[in-house]
């Protein structure tokens, strides 16, 4: 099973503050993804990465930025958190050779007050 760790697991922050969520993997997978999960919307892609320093936008990227300076770490930053960004955030990696075999982390529950 791919080792994928998200931190923190829970966070409460104030509107307007910057927030960074971390995704760490232990198996050198090339592709990493950030999704947010909201009731009635399922999982929506925020950003993804296809290698160190190689990232691209997903369908709900406004207000978010990402960085990948090492293969194992993919960071998601909310530059100035808003209440609409209250959500559960999931990181995923794509298993080698598997077009659909994403492995998800356990999620970060973020509340913006």
């Amino acid at each position: 099973d791919a080792g994928i760790t998200q931190s923190p697991r829970h966070k409460v922050t104030e509107t307007g503050t910057p927030v960074t969520l971390r995704c760490h993997q232990t198996e050198n997978h090339r592709y990493m993804y950030w999704y947010r999960q909201d009731p009635g919307h399922g999982l929506r892609l925020i950003h993804y990465s296809y290698g160190v320093k190689d990232t691209d936008k997903g369908e709900v990227s406004d207000g978010y930025s990402v960085s990948r300076s090492k293969t194992e770490d993919f960071l998601l930053t909310l530059e100035s958190a808003t209440s609409s960004q209250t959500s559960v955030y999931f990181c995923a990696i794509r298993e080698q050779g598997a077009n659909y075999g994403y492995t998800f982390g356990s999620g970060t529950r973020l509340t913006v007050v």
Binding site: R30, G40, Y48, N99, Y100, F104
Partner: protein, 115 residues
């Protein structure tokens, strides 16, 4: 705009029943269709997947039926058990230049299997 439409939003069945979850898509560039199962407090986990050139795939009690002409696919759970109570997501994969892919998910179906 939801590229993958999933129904129903919630479903309650009796133990041993066969819940059916349906999904529809528009984009013919989608080339893989996985289903994910999610338990409370956990991330989604891959359950079963199908290619568009196959009409049916079975893995244990889980079956995907795929209708390419109608752009629809569905998940059937045979002999459902209380342990199958979870949220189920359909998804569709699109390939990216350079060899990767990205998944677009449906909105999810909350299944409850009662004794």
């Amino acid at each position: 705009q939801q590229q993958v439409k999933q129904s129903p939003q919630s479903l309650i069945v009796q133990k041993g029943g066969i819940p059916i979850i349906n999904c529809a898509y528009e984009n013919t560039a989608f080339d893989y269709f996985p289903w994910y199962q999610q338990f409370p407090g956990k991330g989604p986990a891959l359950l079963i997947a199908i290619r568009p050139d196959v009409s049916e795939k079975k893995e244990g009690r889980f079956t995907i039926s795929f209708n390419k002409s109608a752009k629809q696919f569905s998940l059937h759970i045979m002999d459902s058990q209380p342990g199958d109570s979870a949220t189920y997501f359909c998804a569709a994969s699109i390939s990216l230049a350079g060899g990767g892919n990205k998944l677009t998910f449906g909105t999810g179906t909350q299944l409850k299997v009662e004794l």
